[in-house]
Subunit: 228 residues, 2 copies
């Protein structure tokens, strides 16, 4: 006569448990800065023992890395809109797309990118890689496929631009000091300037490229980055 042993805790498949913990972690890391979120908090939020976090994710930093990666994988640009129209139109559409994508993640995106260097080189590396991917997609969409994959300086400048993108989005989402339209305006104008005025000025060897249209560049090989 065993009246249901009444299990004290539920047993989940590793993947399910991992996912559940990850979701809780994402929520909390979005609410307050890294240092303010203890593993105890996350464990409590998920209703599990603290040790389980280490079992599934290793160190707290590793869990945070997973959160960052999850936050940075975004739907491809090229799949949503087709690159037609003037350069300005394409720029504006790509900026629009990025703002849309970010809007869905909201505060967590700001927290993750803002805390950029939680002061951890590894986090920085991951964000940089994601920036490179986004930059490559954007430039490809703009028809400026160029050698973003080959020329380190192009990548570097697009990462610089990414710095402004993040700061702008921070102003928009967190502070509300910029409207979406104003953010759109700023980012579009800046990107146009970079693409048509700055990048062509790079390779100094053969004098200077003419304005208005990107110098004819050979198509680069299709590339696939990303990680899990």
């Amino acid at each position: 006569m065993s009246p249901a042993p009444a299990p004290r805790w539920k047993r989940l498949e590793p993947d399910a448990r991992r996912e559940q913990i990850l979701e809780c972690a994402m929520r909390l890391f979005g609410e307050r800065p890294y240092a303010q979120v203890s593993t105890t908090d996350i464990a409590k939020e998920a209703g599990v023992a603290r040790g389980l976090l280490n079992h599934y994710f290793g160190q707290k930093r590793d869990l945070y890395l997973k959160v960052v990666k999850r936050m940075l994988l975004m739907p491809g640009l090229e799949e949503k809109v087709s690159p037609t129209g003037t350069l300005r139109q394409r720029v504006e559409r790509s900026v629009e797309w990025y703002l849309d994508t970010v809007a869905t993640h909201g505060k967590t995106y700001v927290a993750v990118t803002g805390a950029g260097s939680i002061a951890d080189p590894e986090v920085e590396r991951i964000i940089s890689a994601a920036d490179d991917v986004a930059a490559a997609k954007t430039l490809e969409f703009l028809g400026m496929k160029v050698e973003v994959g080959s020329d380190a300086r192009h990548r570097a400048m697009m990462r610089s631009y990414a710095g402004m993108v993040k700061a702008t989005i921070r102003e928009w989402i967190r502070g509300g000091t910029l409207s979406r339209e104003e953010a759109h305006l700023l980012l579009s104008e800046a990107l146009i300037t970079i693409v048509q005025d700055v990048l062509p000025q790079l390779t100094p060897p053969q004098g200077r490229a003419e304005r208005g249209d990107a110098p004819a560049v050979k198509q680069g090989a299709p590339r696939e980055k990303d990680e899990g």
Copy 2:
């Protein structure tokens, strides 16, 4: 016959000791991220007991704030060069000045601004305030004195630009992926675009403002920022 009591430690004036500790902290915080620098490390570096840090600076975070503040107080722009020439020339000179200023601080500047949001709202606030000051000086130097002090959107956009400035400098100093000239080029072109193409487009009420001069806007409440 007391053969010199041989003092076990030297006694310093509060200001001197404070300064010495601060210098050690600046060095260490420049070498590795905030979380990786323990108060024990700083104390050891300074050759004092750990408790002394708390005595002089309070919490570890407070000490870090002092480091950030020290890092961000920079010589005024207007005092070094006079605003003459075309807009482009003035822009290039102000960017040059900023790169010079940053170069002296080097890695520590990158660490401090990069760790921007160590994930601490207070740090973020201080850096934002410093950005605002630098932005105001720059715009004043450019003759675009405008109401950076009154129009929140101007400040917001300049903070966005500041995001790119930091990212660019990071590429230049830390990664070496951009040369100083390339950084200079990128930042100049972007600033010109913002100042002459973006900012004038703001206030939409009365159609559109004419270039080069901002529409007259009423002064906001007098504000006092900064601290020691």
